[in-house]
Symmetry: C2
Subunit: 345 residues, 2 copies
C-alpha cells in the first residue's frame, strides 16, 4: 500500500514541546557476548504510546515506562554488523528491542535470530507483523482469551490494522467462525479486509456507520475483538448477545486524548446482558509458553495459503532516521493498512 | 434502623411529570387456581429503575420493561385472603410479583409459599432480602461469577445495602476471603458493615475517601464486587491486581442520570492489567438450578449465627399505600441500611 505522509505541524513532532529529540552518541566496540547491529526495520505499535504516557504508573502498566532522556523503546529487525558471540555471525538477521536507533549494541541473549523464507512469502518484516506481536496478539486474544468457536459471530475493530487483519483471517480460516465482521476506516480498507475473508467490513467514517453496523450485526454477535475502545466499543456493547465476550486488546481512540479519555457509557449493557470483558497483553502468551505452538500454526496456514501476508498486508515506509517519529505518528492517523513498518533509509 | 424520609419535592413523585399515579380498580373474585392476596411487604430494588427506563429496549434488558399504564412491577410478601387453589389456604404467606398494589389477583402457580422461622430469626421480610434476590445475588455473584476464594482480598461497594451487606458476610464467613473491604455512604453505615465482618469499611462521602480507599487496598485486591458503577468503579479499576476480577452487579450511580451516564474512564486498566469483568443477573442462578443449594447454605449459616440478619439488616418503612413511591426513592438517596422494605400500612 502506498504510504501517506502525516501533517508537518504535529506538536508531538516539532516545536518547543516536541516529544522526541535527535541525539548522536558513539558506541564502544562489542564486549563479551555482545553484538553491534544495524537497524533495518522498526515496528510501530500503538502500545508504545502507553510507554511514554505522562504519569504512567510503573505498577499499573505492564512494562517499565520509558524515562525522559532514554532512547524511545521499539522492536526492530536488525542485521548483525559486528559480534563477539559465537551464535551470531555478521550478516545474521535478528529481532530485538533495538529502540529508535540506527545502530545498537545488544547482549547476544537479547537477540532472536530470524530465518525469513522468501519462497513461502515470509519476509524479514513479518517478524514484527503477522509472525510477531500483532499476529500473536490476534491469535492469543481470539482463541485463548475469548475462546472464539466456529458457532460464534465475531466483530473486529481496527480490522485493517496489523492485529485486526490477522484476527479476521484467524477467525475465518483457522477457527472457522460462522460470521466475521470487520470495522475499519475507509472503503478501500474495508474492501481489503473483505478480501482477507471478512463476510463484511463496515467503514466507521461513513455517515451511516451506525446503520451499517446494525445491519451487519443483525441478530447480535457472540464475540467482539476490540482494538480501538471509545465510541465504537460503546456501540458494540449494545450489539453483543447475552453472555457475549469482549477481548479488550487496545484503546487507540483514547491514546492521544491526554487525561480526559472518552468514557464508556454503556457499562449497564455488561450487567444486563451478562457480558464478559477480558483484557490481555500478548506477553502473557509468551511467558506461559503458548506462543510457540500458535506461531507454528500460523506459519502452517501461511504456507497453505489460507492466511495471506502479501505486500498489501504491511505498509512499509522508507524513512530517514530523523523522521522515525513522523512515520510512527501515522499509526494514530489511520495511515496504515496492515502492519506499519519503518524501513530505515 | 430508623427510616428517614425523602424530600417532598422530588419530581419523580409529584408535579405534572410525576412518574407514578394512583389508580383504584375493582378485582373480580378468584377464578380456578387463582388466589387473592393482600400485600404486606414490598421489595425495593435498584433494578426496578431499569424496568421503567425511558427507551429501554426489550431485547437488551433482561426482562420486559413495564409499560405505561401498567401497575409498577415489584416483588412482594403477601398473605392469602381468598383462594380457589388446593395448595394455598387463607392466611398462608407467599412470595410473588405482586406489583405496587394493596391486593392482587394471582395465578396460584406464580405464588411461592413462605415458611418463616421466628426461632431461627427468619422473618417474612427476609424472603425479599437476605434469603431473596439480594442474598442470592450476593452469593451467586461472589462465589459463582467471580469465583472468590480464601486467598482473595475483596472490595464491595454499596456494602451497607441489601446485596452488599450479604456479600461482606458471605465473603468473610462462608468463603473466608483473606480481606474484605466495604465501601458505604456514612460513618455509621461503615461501622455497621465492619460489625458484619468487613476488615474495614470506607465512607465514600468522606473528603479523604480516595486516600482511605488507597490505604485499605494497599497491595491491591483480587476481586471487586460492584454494586454502584460510576466514579467508584473507575477508582476500583486502578486498585485491582493484575488478572483481577470484577462482578458487575449494579450501577446505581447512573440510574437516575437519564441519557448521560458517567462514562467509565479507566478502561485501559482492564487491558493493561488483564482484568476480567463479568456482568450477571440473579435470575441466571435460578434458571440454572444453582439457587436452591445456595439458599440452603445461607440458611445453615444463619442458623449457626455466622450470617447476621438482625433487625439492623433491614430498613422496614411503614408506608401508606399512596406513599409507596416515596419509600422506593429512598433507595437512590442512600436512605437504607440493609434491605429497604416497604411495609404497607
Amino acid at each position: 500500500m502506498a504510504p501517506r505522509h502525516p501533517p508537518e505541524n504535529n506538536p508531538i513532532l516539532s516545536g518547543d514541546n516536541a516529544t522526541f529529540t535527535l541525539q548522536t552518541t558513539t558506541l564502544p566496540p562489542p564486549g563479551p557476548n555482545q553484538t553491534l547491529v544495524k537497524v533495518l526495520y522498526l515496528s510501530n505499535d500503538p502500545a508504545q504510546r502507553a510507554w511514554i504516557q505522562k504519569g504512567s504508573d510503573p505498577e499499573r502498566i505492564y512494562t517499565e515506562p520509558v524515562q525522559k532522556g532514554e532512547p524511545m523503546r521499539a522492536f526492530g529487525v536488525c542485521e548483525v554488523v559486528q559480534s563477539s558471540s559465537e551464535n551470531l555471525k555478521k550478516g545474521q538477521l535478528i529481532y530485538a528491542t533495538s529502540g529508535w536507533s540506527e545502530y545498537a549494541l545488544l547482549d547476544a541473549k537479547d537477540c532472536r535470530p530470524l530465518y525469513p523464507d522468501e519462497s513461502a512469502g515470509i519476509r524479514p518484516t513479518h517478524f514484527i507483523g503477522a509472525l510477531g506481536g500483532p499476529g500473536l496478539t490476534a491469535y492469543y486474544g481470539l482463541v485463548d482469551v475469548v475462546r472464539a468457536k466456529a458457532e460464534d459471530a465475531v466483530v473486529v475493530s481496527g480490522a485493517a490494522g496489523a492485529t485486526g487483519s490477522m484476527v479476521v483471517q484467524i477467525a475465518k480460516h483457522i477457527v472457522g467462525c460462522k460470521k466475521v465482521i470487520g470495522i475499519a476506516g475507509g472503503d478501500e480498507k474495508c474492501r481489503w479486509v473483505e478480501s482477507l475473508g471478512a463476510d463484511v467490513c463496515v467503514n466507521y467514517k461513513a455517515p451511516d456507520f451506525n446503520e451499517q453496523l446494525w445491519r451487519a450485526t443483525d441478530g447480535f454477535v457472540e464475540v467482539y475483538f476490540d482494538n480501538v475502545g471509545g465510541e465504537i466499543l460503546d456501540l458494540m456493547l449494545t450489539r453483543l448477545k447475552r453472555f457475549g465476550r469482549v477481548a479488550a486488546c487496545g484503546a487507540i481512540a483514547n491514546y492521544n486524548k491526554g487525561g480526559d479519555p472518552v468514557g464508556v457509557k454503556n457499562w449497564s449493557e455488561i450487567i444486563m446482558n451478562r457480558l464478559e470483558i477480558k483484557g490481555f497483553i500478548v506477553t502473557d502468551a509468551v511467558v506461559t509458553g503458548k506462543s510457540g505452538p500458535m506461531l507454528q500454526k500460523m506459519v502452517e496456514k501461511i504456507k497453505e495459503g489460507k492466511i495471506k501476508i502479501g505486500r498489501d498486508s504491511e505498509t512499509v515506509v522508507p524513512t530517514k532516521f530523523e523522521d522515525v517519529p513522523k512515520t510512527w505518528v501515522m499509526l494514530f492517523q489511520g495511515g496504515n493498512q496492515g502492519k506499519l513498518v519503518t524501513q530505515i533509509q
